[in-house]
């Protein structure tokens, strides 16, 4: 049984369920990640040193350059992507990259999603209903 549900304005990709990794910070595959090791690498990022692999990343805004549109596809080929992406504000690059890599993404909520979902929470994303379902709180 879900704890709470949140509607997004934008959604794409298949339905997924997993553990959330959350920060009130931005996201760019080029600026923020060591894509070889699968960790956040920008020293000033709030998730620096943490592994993003197979996590549902819940972040504030898509940032930075256009490289992410290719990089998500390249990371997917090596099994080194997050399970899904969730943003308060998204940019076209992230949508284009998620579309090419066939990942899942939700964006645009009435409230700050990074203050609602905590790291470690069990989350389900249902893009065809534009829905984020909080299944279990962080342990």
């Amino acid at each position: 049984m879900s704890l709470r549900e949140f509607h997004a304005r934008h959604a794409m990709g298949p339905r997924v369920e997993g553990i959330a990794l959350v920060a009130k910070d931005g996201f760019s595959a080029r600026y923020d990640l060591d894509r070889t090791r699968g960790v956040f690498s920008r020293p000033t990022h709030k998730l620096v040193g943490q592994s993003y692999r197979d996590r549902i990343l819940v972040l504030d805004a898509a940032k930075g350059g256009v490289a992410t549109a290719w990089m998500l596809h390249e990371m997917k080929a090596r099994g080194m992507t997050p399970l899904a992406l969730v943003f308060n504000a998204v940019n076209p690059i992230m949508a284009q990259g998620v579309a090419l890599a066939d990942l899942t993404m939700l964006a645009g909520f009435d409230d700050d999603i990074t203050s609602i979902v905590a790291s470690g929470a069990q989350v389900e994303l249902i893009p065809d209903q534009r829905l984020l379902r909080l299944l279990a709180p962080a342990a």
């Binding site: 690498s41 256009v66 579309a99």
Partner: protein, 402 residues
């Protein structure tokens, strides 16, 4: 096209565009006159290059782009790859990507300053441009209309001749959402970049449109290039207005009607220098890089003048476009920079050229540059970047300290 009657390549391109368009609730498509593709092989990887090669394996009729389609910088300057200590596999991947793009009918311009070197967009022209610096300059300074189009989407636009109509193709998204007042007009390119970075951070996301009031002199193209590139880099911003300078903001009320009630902030010299000082964590430097965006002919001329009579003790890299390099050679700007110990590279961009690997191969960590965009990017690649003026960078390259 969607039914596959024009071949599987255009069908795939249109399917991709529909997926993105539906995500942003685009009502239809808009014809575009040009596409610009960001596709360095560090971003593409083996998977991306193989994807391009699959598209390029179809017949000429099926695979050729149908509008002028040009490229952002490559991941190397083949003439200088040994100097950069790039590995053979990087160059092999580059050659395969270039071969695929040529088969797709793409013009290999390899530049992120196409608005200075290839063709400046015109006001109201709908485009599918990649490279955030190219988009923000085209939208803001030229009054053209483009979203950030990543490589797959820009190539798709080249193949279909259109792009989903959302974001900055629409009038309603071009109005200001943030009113920035300043009492400071930057003088140097790093100052313009730092101010752009401050405003980018304040704007915060792609859908924010800052309007800046209080700039007292009309900035030149290179100043606005650094200003916009930094704003796009720090904030993912794709459009700004400067009252009395940029074409859509002759008056403040043209882009920010009084009724709009938008957020107002005040920024100045102290904010820009505070941003710059956050990157000053070491006195020593290993390498100086002028890149991101590529240097215009006028920037190279300024650099050449500063290099006269100097002798660098650490590497100094100046990166420009393939359109400008022959002029720089002909006018002896390259010779003057290289006589001091610098290296002029063309057709690449430093941070798009396996920045992490070349740092490890060359022992480069403490990097000095006059590009605010570069300092924002390179931290994630393991560098300790520092922002300073072109003059300070040249001075530091002679003594290895700031």
């Amino acid at each position: 096209m969607l039914a596959g009657e024009m071949g599987p390549v255009r069908q795939l391109a249109l399917q991709h565009q529909i997926k993105v368009g539906e995500f942003f609730d685009a009502p239809d498509f808009v014809p575009v006159s040009q596409a610009h593709i960001m596709a360095d092989t560090e971003s593409l990887g083996e998977a991306g290059v193989a994807w391009l090669e699959r598209l390029a394996s179809h017949s000429v009729t099926e695979r050729h782009v149908c509008i002028p389609t040009i490229t952002d910088p490559r991941g190397t300057d083949f003439c200088k790859a040994a100097f950069l200590k790039q590995a053979p596999w990087m160059l092999d991947l580059e050659r395969r990507a270039i071969d695929a793009f040529v088969k797709l009918g793409v013009l290999m311009t390899d530049t992120c300053i196409n608005y200075q070197t290839v063709q400046a967009p015109t006001r109201g022209e709908h485009l599918a441009f990649g490279d955030t610096g190219v988009v923000i300059y085209s939208n803001s300074v030229c009054g053209a209309r483009s979203n950030f189009e990543g490589g797959p989407s820009a190539l798709s636009a080249g193949l279909t001749g259109r792009t989903p109509r959302y974001g900055y193709h629409l009038d309603r998204h071009r109005q200001a959402t943030l009113h920035v007042r300043t009492d400071w007009t930057p003088a140097t390119l790093n100052e313009w970049g730092a101010l752009g970075g401050v405003i980018g951070r304040l704007a915060g996301n792609y859908w924010s449109v800052p309007v800046i009031e209080g700039i007292e002199r009309v900035p030149g193209s290179d100043a606005l290039k650094h200003f916009g590139a930094a704003m796009a880099s720090f904030g993912s911003v794709a459009l700004f207005h400067i009252v009395g300078v940029t074409p859509e903001a002759g008056r403040l009320q043209d882009v920010a009607p009084a009724s709009a009630g938008i957020r107002a902030v005040r920024v100045g010299r102290a904010d820009a220098y505070a941003l710059q000082s956050t990157y000053r964590v070491d006195e020593k430097i290993d390498v100086v890089v002028f890149s991101g965006p590529q240097l215009s002919l006028l920037e190279l001329a300024s650099l050449a003048q500063l290099c006269d009579g100097r002798r660098f003790t650490i590497p100094v890299l100046a990166v420009t476009s393939p359109q400008i390099k022959p002029d720089a050679d002909r006018m002896l700007l390259t010779e003057r920079i290289e006589r001091a110990g610098g290296t002029v590279l063309a057709g690449m961009c430093f941070y798009q050229s396996y920045a992490r690997e070349i740092a490890q191969a060359n022992g480069w960590k403490r990097l000095m540059t006059n590009s605010a965009k570069m300092v924002n990017i390179l931290g994630g690649y393991g560098y300790q970047p520092m922002l300073a003026s072109m003059e300070e960078c040249v001075d530091a390259a002679c003594v290895e300290v700031v």
